[in-house]
């Protein structure tokens, strides 16, 4: 049976070993269940995968945990070289050529109101569905008979979750419900989410805007080789 260590070894054996003396600063964003700041990030699978690839190429790698807005600002300023895992719905970032993994949008409900299959859009009729500002909703929801309520504000997603808990929404559109509905989140005891399958989007490793071409190529090649052999998504399933 292939275990996690065998997979790491396999992945590493395919990335040519050539550690340079270069240093690299990597920003990390919380993205449960892949990266959960409640845990030591070195024990998280997304960290292990990325570090296993990078340490073959860079001798000095520093990881910094950031809230997502700050992380994007640091990346734009060039203060960090890489940032992950990051959504880029409006194509504003410089990214590695392969997606790191994929996320699927969905609707979250109080469990008693759970709708398991979202292609049954006729069930949305008269539902009050919260849509956090700045999120890109899927066409099937947009064209449904749901009553869509735009939730404004800087923290619109968390506000939406609160409104859902208070029963002021029947459902909440979430661009990435796995962040909410996962076994390590206590909210999963009262809220459950289902997915708009067919509308998944890429989650990336982003690079700073002014990264030199040679460094970009080294990093991009290393991840392409690793992902072709053992995708991060498969690595994530291994105990």
């Amino acid at each position: 049976m292939i275990n996690r260590y065998a997979l790491i070894a396999l992945t590493l054996s395919l990335v040519p070993f050539k550690a340079t003396s270069n240093s690299l600063t990597v920003g990390v964003i919380e993205y449960p269940p892949h990266i959960d700041f409640k845990n030591n990030i070195k024990s998280e699978k997304a960290y292990k995968y990325v570090h296993a690839v990078l340490e073959r190429k860079f001798s000095d790698i520093k990881y910094i945990k950031y809230p997502s807005k700050r992380a994007l600002s640091e990346l734009k300023k060039g203060n960090i070289d890489l940032l992950y895992p990051v959504d880029d719905p409006f194509n504003k970032l410089n990214l590695l050529s392969n997606a790191f993994f994929y996320s699927t949008p969905g609707l979250c409900f109080k469990k008693k109101n759970f709708i398991p299959i979202l292609s049954a859009t006729h069930l949305f009729k008269k539902l009050t569905v919260g849509v956090p500002s700045g999120t890109k909703i899927v066409p099937t929801l947009e064209s449904s008979e749901a009553n869509l309520i735009n939730i404004k504000g800087a923290d619109s997603l968390n506000r939406g979750i609160e409104l859902l808990r208070l029963g002021r929404l029947d459902a909440l559109f979430h661009p990435n419900p796995i962040k909410l509905y996962n076994e390590s989140n206590p909210l999963s005891k009262e809220i459950a989410c289902s997915y708009f399958h067919g509308y998944s989007s890429e989650v990336h490793i982003a690079t700073k805007p002014n990264m030199d071409k040679k460094t970009y190529k080294i990093i991009d090649n290393a991840f392409s080789i690793a992902q072709n052999e053992t995708s991060y998504e498969y690595f994530f399933t291994q105990k």
């Binding site: 292939i2 398991p116 076994e183 067919g198 399933t237």
Partner: protein, 254 residues
């Protein structure tokens, strides 16, 4: 001069013969591969159906739905269903399909272990759709779809394309066990396409049959029966003699 011409002619003929044999071999390999992909996919869908009780039950050991245990059971289902061993020396596409099965099951872990949700909606069609979607992201030049006639489709993302409609018509008219086309195109590129019809099974009728087949109506008086199935869709009143759609596979050069 004549000797030289004959020599060139013989070389050309040999090359042509080689190319022809090679093409036939390649075509046969592709046809076998595409058929194996369909069987593996079908075995996994069958396994998901057979485990609906486990999927929806509260508590209990669900470990056989995950990881290598899941794959071992899919292989056993394959063996029972097709009366032959699962091919161990398989192609990168089938290896990826197996990995993707593990990924799909893992991405549903929270739902499958959610004891507050009695019907989880993790039915064969939903599993199949997730499998197809994840596989399409692997850039392997393969696309799998569980589809049916346009009027029979519930999820509009599964609508058949023109080739699939033609394939279904041929399968029905000529009573074919499958339909393979190595001269097809996909998005204007040469492709091999395959359609494997799936027979309507009693389990399909619990959602697509008549209200008497609806598990939600069990134990109720007929006057109280609902024609809305567990997934929230109106039932179609199909019987075992109706067309059950099928698995459509496309292999194309990237």
């Amino acid at each position: 001069m004549l000797k030289i011409s004959l020599f060139i002619l013989s070389l050309t003929s040999a090359n042509f013969a080689f190319a022809l044999t090679h093409n036939v071999d390649t075509s046969r390999e592709k046809s076998e591969l595409i058929s194996e992909i369909a069987k593996t996919y079908q075995a996994s869908i069958t396994y998901i159906f057979k485990n609906q009780t486990l999927i929806n039950q509260k508590g209990g050991d669900k470990s056989k739905l995950f990881g290598q245990a899941f794959i071992s059971n899919v292989k056993k289902t394959y063996q029972t269903k097709f009366n032959k061993s699962f091919p161990e020396q398989n192609s990168p596409v089938i290896k990826s399909l197996i990995q993707v099965m593990i990924e799909v099951m893992e991405s549903n872990r929270t739902l499958l272990y959610d004891n507050d949700i009695t019907f989880k909606g993790f039915i064969p069609a939903i599993f199949a759709f997730q499998l197809s979607e994840k596989l399409s992201k692997k850039n392997l030049g393969v696309k799998i779809k569980f589809t049916s006639k346009p009027s029979q489709i519930r999820n509009q993302l599964n609508q058949p394309d023109f080739w699939e409609i033609e394939a279904m018509n041929r399968v029905q008219k000529q009573k074919l066990i499958n339909y393979y086309d190595d001269q097809a195109t996909y998005l204007n590129k040469p492709a091999q396409r395959y359609f494997l019809p799936v027979k309507m099974q009693p389990f399909c009728l619990s959602c697509h049959g008549v209200p008497a087949n609806n598990p939600l109506n069990a134990g109720k008086k007929e006057a109280q029966w609902s024609n809305i199935d567990r997934t929230g869709f109106p039932m179609e009143n199909w019987t075992l003699n109706d067309f059950g759609g099928g698995i459509s596979i496309t292999l194309f050069d990237q």
